[in-house]
Protein backbone atom coordinates (compact mmCIF):
# COMPACT_ATOMS: atom_id res chain seq x y z
CA UNK A 1 0.00 0.00 0.00
CA UNK A 2 1.33 3.46 -0.80
CA UNK A 3 1.37 6.21 1.78
CA UNK A 4 -1.56 7.81 -0.03
CA UNK A 5 -3.53 4.56 -0.04
CA UNK A 6 -2.99 4.16 3.67
CA UNK A 7 -4.39 7.63 4.23
CA UNK A 8 -7.43 6.82 2.09
CA UNK A 9 -7.92 3.62 4.04
CA UNK A 10 -8.20 5.54 7.30
CA UNK A 11 -10.52 8.12 5.77
CA UNK A 12 -12.83 5.29 4.66
CA UNK A 13 -12.74 3.69 8.09
CA UNK A 14 -13.79 6.95 9.73
CA UNK A 15 -16.52 7.66 7.17
CA UNK A 16 -18.94 5.38 9.00
CA UNK A 17 -18.90 7.55 12.13
CA UNK A 18 -21.09 10.60 12.08
CA UNK A 19 -21.07 11.05 15.83
CA UNK A 20 -18.07 12.56 17.60
CA UNK A 21 -18.27 10.20 20.53
CA UNK A 22 -18.23 7.13 18.26
CA UNK A 23 -15.22 8.53 16.46
CA UNK A 24 -13.42 8.99 19.76
CA UNK A 25 -14.49 5.57 20.95
CA UNK A 26 -12.63 4.18 17.95
CA UNK A 27 -9.56 6.34 18.54
CA UNK A 28 -9.47 5.20 22.16
CA UNK A 29 -9.55 1.57 21.00
CA UNK A 30 -6.65 2.30 18.65
CA UNK A 31 -4.80 3.89 21.53
CA UNK A 32 -5.30 0.82 23.69
CA UNK A 33 -4.04 -1.44 20.87
CA UNK A 34 -0.93 0.54 20.05
CA UNK A 35 2.16 -1.48 20.93
CA UNK A 36 3.84 0.40 23.68
CA UNK A 37 7.29 1.80 23.23
CA UNK A 38 9.94 -0.12 25.14
CA UNK A 39 10.05 1.27 28.68
CA UNK A 40 13.82 1.81 28.44
CA UNK A 41 13.36 3.80 25.25
CA UNK A 42 11.23 6.29 27.22
CA UNK A 43 14.19 8.54 27.84
CA UNK A 44 14.20 12.30 28.08
CA UNK A 45 15.78 12.74 24.65
CA UNK A 46 12.83 10.90 23.13
CA UNK A 47 10.30 12.87 25.13
CA UNK A 48 8.23 15.53 23.43
CA UNK A 49 6.89 17.72 26.19
CA UNK A 50 3.45 19.04 25.36
CA UNK A 51 1.60 21.26 27.77
CA UNK A 52 -1.33 18.83 27.85
CA UNK A 53 0.07 15.38 27.19
CA UNK A 54 3.51 13.91 26.74
CA UNK A 55 4.73 11.91 23.77
CA UNK A 56 7.75 9.65 23.38
CA UNK A 57 9.06 8.92 19.92
CA UNK A 58 11.76 6.45 18.87
CA UNK A 59 12.83 6.21 15.24
CA UNK A 60 15.05 3.78 13.41
CA UNK A 61 16.37 3.49 9.84
CA UNK A 62 16.65 -0.01 8.37
CA UNK A 63 16.64 -1.38 4.78
CA UNK A 64 16.07 2.09 3.41
CA UNK A 65 12.86 2.43 5.44
CA UNK A 66 11.99 4.49 8.49
CA UNK A 67 10.56 2.73 11.49
CA UNK A 68 8.74 4.46 14.36
CA UNK A 69 7.40 3.53 17.75
CA UNK A 70 5.76 6.03 20.04
CA UNK A 71 3.76 6.37 23.18
CA UNK A 72 1.84 8.93 25.15
CA UNK A 73 0.46 9.27 28.65
CA UNK A 74 -2.95 10.27 27.19
CA UNK A 75 -4.91 7.58 25.42
CA UNK A 76 -6.51 9.82 22.77
CA UNK A 77 -3.12 11.21 21.87
CA UNK A 78 -1.92 7.64 21.66
CA UNK A 79 -4.74 6.65 19.32
CA UNK A 80 -3.85 9.46 16.96
CA UNK A 81 -0.20 8.46 17.19
CA UNK A 82 -1.34 5.00 16.10
CA UNK A 83 -2.90 6.50 12.97
CA UNK A 84 0.18 8.57 12.18
CA UNK A 85 2.45 5.58 12.58
CA UNK A 86 0.19 3.44 10.43
CA UNK A 87 0.67 5.94 7.61
CA UNK A 88 4.36 6.74 8.09
CA UNK A 89 5.93 3.54 9.38
CA UNK A 90 7.98 1.52 6.89
CA UNK A 91 8.09 4.37 4.40
CA UNK A 92 11.20 5.73 2.75
CA UNK A 93 12.65 8.99 4.06
CA UNK A 94 11.75 10.60 0.69
CA UNK A 95 8.10 9.68 1.02
CA UNK A 96 7.94 10.89 4.61
CA UNK A 97 9.68 14.16 3.90
CA UNK A 98 7.28 15.08 1.12
CA UNK A 99 4.14 13.58 2.68
CA UNK A 100 1.04 15.71 3.13
CA UNK A 101 -0.86 14.24 6.06
CA UNK A 102 -4.26 15.41 4.87
CA UNK A 103 -6.11 12.47 6.42
CA UNK A 104 -5.97 14.07 9.84
CA UNK A 105 -8.09 17.01 8.77
CA UNK A 106 -10.22 14.83 6.48
CA UNK A 107 -11.34 12.82 9.49
CA UNK A 108 -11.89 16.00 11.51
CA UNK A 109 -8.96 15.72 13.89
CA UNK A 110 -6.89 18.68 12.65
CA UNK A 111 -7.33 20.43 16.00
CA UNK A 112 -5.10 17.76 17.53
CA UNK A 113 -2.26 18.64 15.18
CA UNK A 114 -2.43 22.36 15.80
CA UNK A 115 0.71 23.59 17.57
CA UNK A 116 -1.49 25.53 20.00
CA UNK A 117 -3.18 22.35 21.16
CA UNK A 118 0.11 21.51 22.83
CA UNK A 119 -0.54 17.79 23.19
CA UNK A 120 2.83 16.98 21.65
CA UNK A 121 1.45 15.70 18.35
CA UNK A 122 2.44 18.66 16.19
CA UNK A 123 5.98 18.42 17.54
CA UNK A 124 5.94 14.69 16.95
CA UNK A 125 5.10 15.09 13.25
CA UNK A 126 7.78 17.73 12.96
CA UNK A 127 10.28 15.38 14.59
CA UNK A 128 9.33 12.53 12.26
CA UNK A 129 9.87 14.76 9.24
CA UNK A 130 13.14 16.02 10.63
CA UNK A 131 14.40 12.49 11.14
CA UNK A 132 13.48 11.67 7.52
CA UNK A 133 15.30 14.77 6.30
CA UNK A 134 18.30 13.88 8.42
CA UNK A 135 18.44 10.48 6.74
CA UNK A 136 18.19 12.07 3.31
CA UNK A 137 21.06 14.38 4.09
CA UNK A 138 23.35 11.50 5.06
Amino acid sequence: MTLEEKQQDIIDEFAIYDDWMDKYEYIIELGKDLPKIDEDLKTDDRLIEGCQSRVWLASEFKDNKMHFTADSDAIITKGIIGLLIRVLDQESPENIAKSDLHFISDIGLHEHLSPTRSNGLASMVKKIKMSALTQLAK
Partner: protein, 411 residues
Amino acid sequence: MAESQKKSFNVKEIREQFPSLRQQVYGKNLIYFDNGATSQKPQVVLDTLNHFYAKENANIHRGVHYLSQMATSAYEDARKTIQLYLNANKSEEIIFTKGTTDAINLVANSFGELLDKGDEILISAMEHHSNIVPWQMLCERKGCILKIIPINQKGEIIQEEYDNLLSNKTKLVSITHISNTLGTINPVKSMTTRAHAVGARVLVDGAQSIQHKKIDVVDINCDWFVFSGHKVFGPTGIGVLYGKEEILDKMPPYQGGGDMIAKVTFEKTTYNELPFKFEAGTPHIAGAIGLGKAFEFLNTLDMEAILQYEMELEAYAQDMLLTFEGLEVIGTAKKKTSVVSFAMDKIHPFDIGTLLDKQGIAVRTGHHCTQPLMDFYKIPGTTRASFAFYNTKEEIDIFISAVEKSISMLS
Protein backbone atom coordinates in the same frame (compact mmCIF):
# COMPACT_ATOMS: atom_id res chain seq x y z
CA MET B 1 -25.57 53.76 42.17
CA ALA B 2 -28.43 54.84 44.34
CA GLU B 3 -28.56 52.97 47.62
CA SER B 4 -32.24 52.39 47.08
CA GLN B 5 -31.74 50.37 43.89
CA LYS B 6 -32.71 46.81 44.68
CA LYS B 7 -29.99 44.21 44.33
CA SER B 8 -31.11 40.88 43.14
CA PHE B 9 -29.93 37.51 41.97
CA ASN B 10 -31.92 35.35 39.60
CA VAL B 11 -29.97 32.89 37.50
CA LYS B 12 -32.47 32.71 34.69
CA GLU B 13 -32.55 36.49 34.32
CA ILE B 14 -28.78 36.69 34.50
CA ARG B 15 -28.28 34.06 31.80
CA GLU B 16 -30.43 36.07 29.42
CA GLN B 17 -27.89 38.86 29.61
CA PHE B 18 -25.02 36.68 28.37
CA PRO B 19 -25.45 36.06 24.63
CA SER B 20 -22.45 33.74 24.33
CA LEU B 21 -24.11 31.24 26.66
CA ARG B 22 -26.90 30.74 24.15
CA GLN B 23 -25.09 28.68 21.57
CA GLN B 24 -24.44 25.12 20.57
CA VAL B 25 -21.09 23.44 20.11
CA TYR B 26 -20.87 20.09 18.32
CA GLY B 27 -24.67 20.11 18.27
CA LYS B 28 -24.95 20.36 22.07
CA ASN B 29 -25.98 23.29 24.23
CA LEU B 30 -22.78 24.89 25.42
CA ILE B 31 -21.97 24.37 29.08
CA TYR B 32 -19.27 26.82 30.00
CA PHE B 33 -17.27 25.66 33.02
CA ASP B 34 -14.03 27.43 32.21
CA ASN B 35 -14.73 30.63 34.10
CA GLY B 36 -11.43 30.43 35.94
CA ALA B 37 -9.70 31.02 32.60
CA THR B 38 -12.02 33.79 31.50
CA SER B 39 -15.63 34.84 31.96
CA GLN B 40 -18.32 35.46 29.36
CA LYS B 41 -19.52 39.02 28.81
CA PRO B 42 -22.94 40.52 29.51
CA GLN B 43 -24.72 42.41 26.73
CA VAL B 44 -24.23 45.75 28.51
CA VAL B 45 -20.45 45.36 28.27
CA LEU B 46 -20.64 44.43 24.59
CA ASP B 47 -22.89 47.42 23.92
CA THR B 48 -20.54 49.71 25.78
CA LEU B 49 -17.55 48.65 23.70
CA ASN B 50 -19.52 49.09 20.53
CA HIS B 51 -20.86 52.45 21.60
CA PHE B 52 -17.42 53.70 22.53
CA TYR B 53 -15.90 52.88 19.15
CA ALA B 54 -18.98 54.03 17.26
CA LYS B 55 -19.62 57.30 19.07
CA GLU B 56 -16.94 58.37 21.51
CA ASN B 57 -13.66 57.15 20.10
CA ALA B 58 -10.81 59.57 20.75
CA ASN B 59 -7.58 59.64 22.68
CA ILE B 60 -7.81 60.77 26.27
CA HIS B 61 -6.22 63.43 28.46
CA ARG B 62 -4.83 65.23 25.42
CA GLY B 63 -7.55 66.80 23.37
CA VAL B 64 -9.37 70.07 23.55
CA HIS B 65 -12.06 68.70 21.29
CA TYR B 66 -15.47 67.32 22.13
CA LEU B 67 -14.83 63.62 21.53
CA SER B 68 -11.60 63.60 23.48
CA GLN B 69 -13.38 65.12 26.45
CA MET B 70 -16.17 62.55 26.17
CA ALA B 71 -13.68 59.70 26.05
CA THR B 72 -11.63 61.15 28.92
CA SER B 73 -14.62 61.50 31.17
CA ALA B 74 -15.91 58.01 30.34
CA TYR B 75 -12.46 56.61 31.15
CA GLU B 76 -12.21 58.53 34.42
CA ASP B 77 -15.80 57.59 35.32
CA ALA B 78 -14.82 53.94 34.94
CA ARG B 79 -11.95 54.50 37.35
CA LYS B 80 -14.37 56.07 39.81
CA THR B 81 -16.84 53.18 39.49
CA ILE B 82 -14.06 50.70 40.23
CA GLN B 83 -12.77 52.75 43.14
CA LEU B 84 -16.22 52.78 44.72
CA TYR B 85 -16.75 49.09 44.05
CA LEU B 86 -13.49 48.20 45.79
CA ASN B 87 -14.19 50.74 48.54
CA ALA B 88 -10.81 52.36 47.87
CA ASN B 89 -10.27 55.78 49.42
CA LYS B 90 -9.36 57.64 46.26
CA SER B 91 -9.69 57.13 42.53
CA GLU B 92 -5.95 57.93 42.24
CA GLU B 93 -5.37 54.57 43.87
CA ILE B 94 -6.82 52.75 40.86
CA ILE B 95 -4.23 52.16 38.13
CA PHE B 96 -5.32 50.61 34.85
CA THR B 97 -3.02 47.83 33.67
CA LYS B 98 -3.24 45.11 31.03
CA GLY B 99 -4.29 42.58 33.63
CA THR B 100 -3.15 40.72 36.73
CA THR B 101 0.17 39.68 35.24
CA ASP B 102 0.95 43.22 34.16
CA ALA B 103 -0.03 44.59 37.59
CA ILE B 104 2.21 42.13 39.45
CA ASN B 105 5.09 42.92 37.11
CA LEU B 106 4.54 46.61 37.75
CA VAL B 107 4.84 46.12 41.50
CA ALA B 108 7.79 43.72 41.16
CA ASN B 109 9.67 46.20 39.00
CA SER B 110 8.72 49.43 40.70
CA PHE B 111 8.43 48.50 44.37
CA GLY B 112 11.23 46.02 43.67
CA GLU B 113 13.55 48.98 43.09
CA LEU B 114 13.12 49.87 46.77
CA LEU B 115 14.28 46.44 47.95
CA ASP B 116 17.80 45.40 48.83
CA LYS B 117 19.94 42.30 48.78
CA GLY B 118 18.81 39.82 51.42
CA ASP B 119 15.27 41.19 51.68
CA GLU B 120 12.72 38.40 51.77
CA ILE B 121 9.60 37.92 49.68
CA LEU B 122 6.97 35.36 50.68
CA ILE B 123 4.55 33.67 48.32
CA SER B 124 2.45 30.58 48.88
CA ALA B 125 2.86 27.15 47.29
CA MET B 126 -0.43 27.55 45.38
CA GLU B 127 0.45 30.63 43.35
CA HIS B 128 -0.19 31.11 39.65
CA HIS B 129 3.00 31.41 37.58
CA SER B 130 2.30 35.12 37.23
CA ASN B 131 2.65 35.47 40.99
CA ILE B 132 5.88 33.44 41.02
CA VAL B 133 8.01 34.38 38.04
CA PRO B 134 8.04 38.21 38.47
CA TRP B 135 9.37 37.70 42.02
CA GLN B 136 11.98 35.20 40.85
CA MET B 137 13.12 37.75 38.29
CA LEU B 138 13.24 40.44 40.96
CA CYS B 139 15.29 38.14 43.22
CA GLU B 140 17.77 37.55 40.41
CA ARG B 141 18.04 41.26 39.77
CA LYS B 142 18.31 42.49 43.34
CA GLY B 143 19.54 39.51 45.33
CA CYS B 144 16.32 39.21 47.31
CA ILE B 145 15.25 35.83 48.67
CA LEU B 146 12.00 34.15 47.68
CA LYS B 147 10.43 31.93 50.34
CA ILE B 148 7.47 29.65 49.87
CA ILE B 149 4.72 29.32 52.46
CA PRO B 150 3.80 25.63 52.48
CA ILE B 151 0.29 24.22 52.14
CA ASN B 152 -1.32 21.09 53.56
CA GLN B 153 -2.81 18.21 51.54
CA LYS B 154 -6.24 19.85 51.56
CA GLY B 155 -4.73 22.84 49.80
CA GLU B 156 -4.74 25.32 52.68
CA ILE B 157 -1.87 27.60 53.59
CA ILE B 158 -0.33 26.34 56.83
CA GLN B 159 -0.77 29.44 58.96
CA GLU B 160 1.78 28.46 61.63
CA GLU B 161 4.42 28.05 58.91
CA TYR B 162 3.50 31.47 57.59
CA ASP B 163 4.02 32.97 61.04
CA ASN B 164 7.36 31.19 61.30
CA LEU B 165 8.52 32.57 57.96
CA LEU B 166 7.54 36.15 58.77
CA SER B 167 10.41 38.18 60.21
CA ASN B 168 11.82 41.65 60.05
CA LYS B 169 13.61 40.54 56.87
CA THR B 170 10.25 40.02 55.16
CA LYS B 171 9.56 43.01 52.94
CA LEU B 172 6.72 41.69 50.83
CA VAL B 173 4.07 38.99 50.96
CA SER B 174 2.21 38.15 47.75
CA ILE B 175 -0.66 35.69 47.92
CA THR B 176 -3.63 34.70 45.91
CA HIS B 177 -7.02 35.46 47.42
CA ILE B 178 -8.63 32.40 45.81
CA SER B 179 -6.61 29.61 44.18
CA ASN B 180 -7.36 29.15 40.49
CA THR B 181 -6.53 25.44 40.72
CA LEU B 182 -7.91 24.47 44.14
CA GLY B 183 -10.63 27.00 44.84
CA THR B 184 -9.20 27.64 48.32
CA ILE B 185 -10.21 30.98 49.82
CA ASN B 186 -7.19 32.28 51.71
CA PRO B 187 -7.59 34.36 54.89
CA VAL B 188 -5.97 37.40 53.32
CA LYS B 189 -7.18 39.87 55.91
CA SER B 190 -5.54 38.11 58.83
CA MET B 191 -2.44 37.32 56.77
CA THR B 192 -2.16 41.02 55.92
CA THR B 193 -2.41 42.06 59.56
CA ARG B 194 0.37 39.66 60.52
CA ALA B 195 2.60 40.79 57.65
CA HIS B 196 2.12 44.41 58.62
CA ALA B 197 3.12 43.55 62.17
CA VAL B 198 6.65 42.78 60.92
CA GLY B 199 6.66 45.76 58.56
CA ALA B 200 6.07 43.81 55.32
CA ARG B 201 3.87 44.98 52.46
CA VAL B 202 1.13 42.74 51.09
CA LEU B 203 -0.07 42.15 47.55
CA VAL B 204 -3.30 40.21 47.09
CA ASP B 205 -3.81 38.51 43.73
CA GLY B 206 -7.54 38.93 43.25
CA ALA B 207 -7.72 37.36 39.78
CA GLN B 208 -10.00 34.62 41.10
CA SER B 209 -11.84 36.48 43.85
CA ILE B 210 -13.12 39.69 42.31
CA GLN B 211 -15.80 37.83 40.29
CA HIS B 212 -17.02 35.71 43.19
CA LYS B 213 -16.93 37.87 46.27
CA LYS B 214 -17.50 41.45 47.34
CA ILE B 215 -14.08 43.03 47.76
CA ASP B 216 -13.30 45.77 50.25
CA VAL B 217 -9.65 46.76 50.02
CA VAL B 218 -9.83 48.96 53.10
CA ASP B 219 -11.18 46.09 55.14
CA ILE B 220 -8.52 43.66 53.87
CA ASN B 221 -6.03 46.49 54.39
CA CYS B 222 -3.63 45.05 51.79
CA ASP B 223 -1.16 47.40 50.12
CA TRP B 224 -2.01 46.25 46.61
CA PHE B 225 -4.93 44.33 45.15
CA VAL B 226 -4.72 43.22 41.52
CA PHE B 227 -7.09 41.59 39.06
CA SER B 228 -7.87 41.06 35.37
CA GLY B 229 -10.92 42.59 33.70
CA HIS B 230 -11.61 39.58 31.51
CA LYS B 231 -12.25 37.31 34.49
CA VAL B 232 -14.82 39.69 35.94
CA PHE B 233 -17.12 39.93 32.91
CA GLY B 234 -15.14 42.76 31.32
CA PRO B 235 -12.94 42.91 28.21
CA THR B 236 -9.54 41.29 27.77
CA GLY B 237 -6.41 43.42 27.84
CA ILE B 238 -7.47 45.55 30.80
CA GLY B 239 -6.93 45.03 34.49
CA VAL B 240 -6.46 46.92 37.71
CA LEU B 241 -3.75 47.59 40.22
CA TYR B 242 -5.19 49.06 43.39
CA GLY B 243 -2.48 50.45 45.65
CA LYS B 244 -2.55 52.57 48.76
CA GLU B 245 -1.71 56.13 47.82
CA GLU B 246 1.06 56.31 50.39
CA ILE B 247 2.94 53.38 48.85
CA LEU B 248 2.20 54.26 45.20
CA ASP B 249 3.67 57.70 45.89
CA LYS B 250 6.91 56.12 47.06
CA MET B 251 7.19 53.77 44.10
CA PRO B 252 9.23 54.92 41.08
CA PRO B 253 7.54 54.86 37.65
CA TYR B 254 7.58 51.54 35.84
CA GLN B 255 7.34 52.43 32.16
CA GLY B 256 8.20 55.78 30.63
CA GLY B 257 6.31 57.54 27.88
CA GLY B 258 3.44 59.86 27.20
CA ASP B 259 0.80 60.65 29.83
CA MET B 260 3.07 59.70 32.74
CA ILE B 261 5.14 62.88 32.65
CA ALA B 262 4.71 66.36 34.09
CA LYS B 263 7.50 67.97 32.08
CA VAL B 264 10.10 66.56 29.76
CA THR B 265 13.41 68.11 28.86
CA PHE B 266 16.49 66.30 27.66
CA GLU B 267 18.19 67.16 30.93
CA LYS B 268 15.48 66.07 33.33
CA THR B 269 11.93 64.77 33.25
CA THR B 270 9.49 65.12 36.07
CA TYR B 271 6.70 62.64 36.48
CA ASN B 272 2.99 63.08 36.52
CA GLU B 273 0.98 62.49 39.66
CA LEU B 274 -1.07 59.41 40.48
CA PRO B 275 -2.61 57.53 38.80
CA PHE B 276 -1.04 58.78 35.55
CA LYS B 277 2.51 58.17 36.77
CA PHE B 278 1.85 54.48 36.18
CA GLU B 279 -0.16 54.73 32.97
CA ALA B 280 2.41 55.44 30.29
CA GLY B 281 1.16 55.66 26.74
CA THR B 282 -2.35 55.42 25.36
CA PRO B 283 -4.17 52.96 27.60
CA HIS B 284 -6.85 50.45 26.64
CA ILE B 285 -9.51 53.16 26.76
CA ALA B 286 -12.42 51.08 25.49
CA GLY B 287 -11.37 48.22 27.78
CA ALA B 288 -11.37 50.43 30.85
CA ILE B 289 -14.79 51.84 30.01
CA GLY B 290 -16.09 48.33 29.34
CA LEU B 291 -14.68 47.17 32.67
CA GLY B 292 -16.38 50.07 34.42
CA LYS B 293 -19.64 48.87 32.86
CA ALA B 294 -19.00 45.31 34.09
CA PHE B 295 -18.78 46.69 37.63
CA GLU B 296 -21.95 48.71 37.15
CA PHE B 297 -23.54 45.41 36.18
CA LEU B 298 -22.18 43.74 39.33
CA ASN B 299 -23.53 46.65 41.34
CA THR B 300 -27.04 45.55 40.44
CA LEU B 301 -26.41 42.06 41.82
CA ASP B 302 -26.43 40.73 45.33
CA MET B 303 -22.83 39.54 45.72
CA GLU B 304 -23.55 37.86 49.07
CA ALA B 305 -26.23 35.72 47.45
CA ILE B 306 -23.87 34.99 44.58
CA LEU B 307 -21.07 33.80 46.85
CA GLN B 308 -23.54 31.53 48.61
CA TYR B 309 -24.90 30.20 45.32
CA GLU B 310 -21.47 29.52 43.84
CA MET B 311 -20.29 27.73 46.97
CA GLU B 312 -23.37 25.54 46.67
CA LEU B 313 -22.63 24.82 43.01
CA GLU B 314 -19.07 23.86 43.88
CA ALA B 315 -20.09 21.64 46.80
CA TYR B 316 -22.77 19.97 44.67
CA ALA B 317 -20.31 19.20 41.86
CA GLN B 318 -17.66 18.02 44.31
CA ASP B 319 -20.04 15.64 46.10
CA MET B 320 -21.21 14.13 42.82
CA LEU B 321 -17.66 13.73 41.48
CA LEU B 322 -16.54 11.98 44.65
CA THR B 323 -18.96 9.14 43.92
CA PHE B 324 -16.70 8.01 41.05
CA GLU B 325 -14.22 5.32 41.96
CA GLY B 326 -10.58 6.26 41.58
CA LEU B 327 -11.39 9.95 41.36
CA GLU B 328 -9.65 12.35 43.67
CA VAL B 329 -10.70 15.94 44.18
CA ILE B 330 -7.57 18.09 44.33
CA GLY B 331 -8.16 20.89 46.81
CA THR B 332 -10.58 20.15 49.60
CA ALA B 333 -10.09 23.24 51.74
CA LYS B 334 -12.77 23.96 54.29
CA LYS B 335 -13.25 27.38 52.70
CA LYS B 336 -13.47 27.08 48.96
CA THR B 337 -15.61 28.24 46.10
CA SER B 338 -16.34 28.01 42.39
CA VAL B 339 -13.49 25.68 41.40
CA VAL B 340 -13.44 21.90 41.45
CA SER B 341 -10.31 20.16 40.20
CA PHE B 342 -9.99 16.42 39.98
CA ALA B 343 -7.52 13.74 39.00
CA MET B 344 -8.08 10.08 38.23
CA ASP B 345 -5.98 7.02 38.92
CA LYS B 346 -5.59 5.76 35.39
CA ILE B 347 -7.13 8.42 33.22
CA HIS B 348 -5.29 11.41 31.84
CA PRO B 349 -6.98 14.84 32.18
CA PHE B 350 -6.40 15.54 28.49
CA ASP B 351 -8.56 12.54 27.57
CA ILE B 352 -11.43 13.54 29.84
CA GLY B 353 -11.23 17.16 28.66
CA THR B 354 -11.31 16.13 25.00
CA LEU B 355 -14.38 13.93 25.51
CA LEU B 356 -16.18 16.56 27.60
CA ASP B 357 -15.51 19.10 24.86
CA LYS B 358 -17.19 16.88 22.30
CA GLN B 359 -20.19 16.69 24.64
CA GLY B 360 -20.45 20.48 24.63
CA ILE B 361 -18.76 21.08 27.98
CA ALA B 362 -15.86 23.50 28.27
CA VAL B 363 -13.45 22.67 31.10
CA ARG B 364 -9.76 23.22 31.45
CA THR B 365 -7.18 20.47 31.73
CA GLY B 366 -3.50 20.63 32.54
CA HIS B 367 -1.44 22.36 35.18
CA HIS B 368 -3.42 25.65 35.13
CA CYS B 369 -0.19 27.66 35.25
CA THR B 370 0.53 26.25 38.71
CA GLN B 371 3.25 23.70 37.97
CA PRO B 372 4.83 23.78 41.44
CA LEU B 373 1.40 22.96 42.86
CA MET B 374 1.07 19.96 40.52
CA ASP B 375 4.50 18.81 41.69
CA PHE B 376 3.27 19.08 45.28
CA TYR B 377 0.36 16.74 44.53
CA LYS B 378 2.61 14.60 42.26
CA ILE B 379 0.17 14.73 39.33
CA PRO B 380 0.69 15.97 35.75
CA GLY B 381 -2.44 18.05 35.84
CA THR B 382 -6.11 18.11 36.70
CA THR B 383 -9.44 18.50 35.01
CA ARG B 384 -10.93 21.72 36.33
CA ALA B 385 -14.52 22.86 36.25
CA SER B 386 -14.86 26.47 37.34
CA PHE B 387 -18.22 28.12 37.81
CA ALA B 388 -19.73 31.56 37.54
CA PHE B 389 -23.09 32.81 38.80
CA TYR B 390 -24.70 32.06 35.42
CA ASN B 391 -24.08 28.32 35.81
CA THR B 392 -26.74 26.00 37.17
CA LYS B 393 -27.18 22.69 38.98
CA GLU B 394 -28.85 21.32 35.84
CA GLU B 395 -25.62 22.00 33.96
CA ILE B 396 -23.69 20.20 36.67
CA ASP B 397 -26.00 17.19 36.30
CA ILE B 398 -25.24 17.08 32.57
CA PHE B 399 -21.54 17.51 33.31
CA ILE B 400 -21.58 14.62 35.77
CA SER B 401 -23.21 12.25 33.32
CA ALA B 402 -20.73 13.37 30.65
CA VAL B 403 -17.86 12.62 33.06
CA GLU B 404 -19.41 9.23 33.72
CA LYS B 405 -19.66 8.49 30.02
CA SER B 406 -16.07 9.64 29.43
CA ILE B 407 -14.76 7.46 32.24
CA SER B 408 -16.55 4.41 30.89
CA MET B 409 -15.11 5.03 27.43
CA LEU B 410 -11.60 5.45 28.78
CA SER B 411 -11.54 2.55 31.21
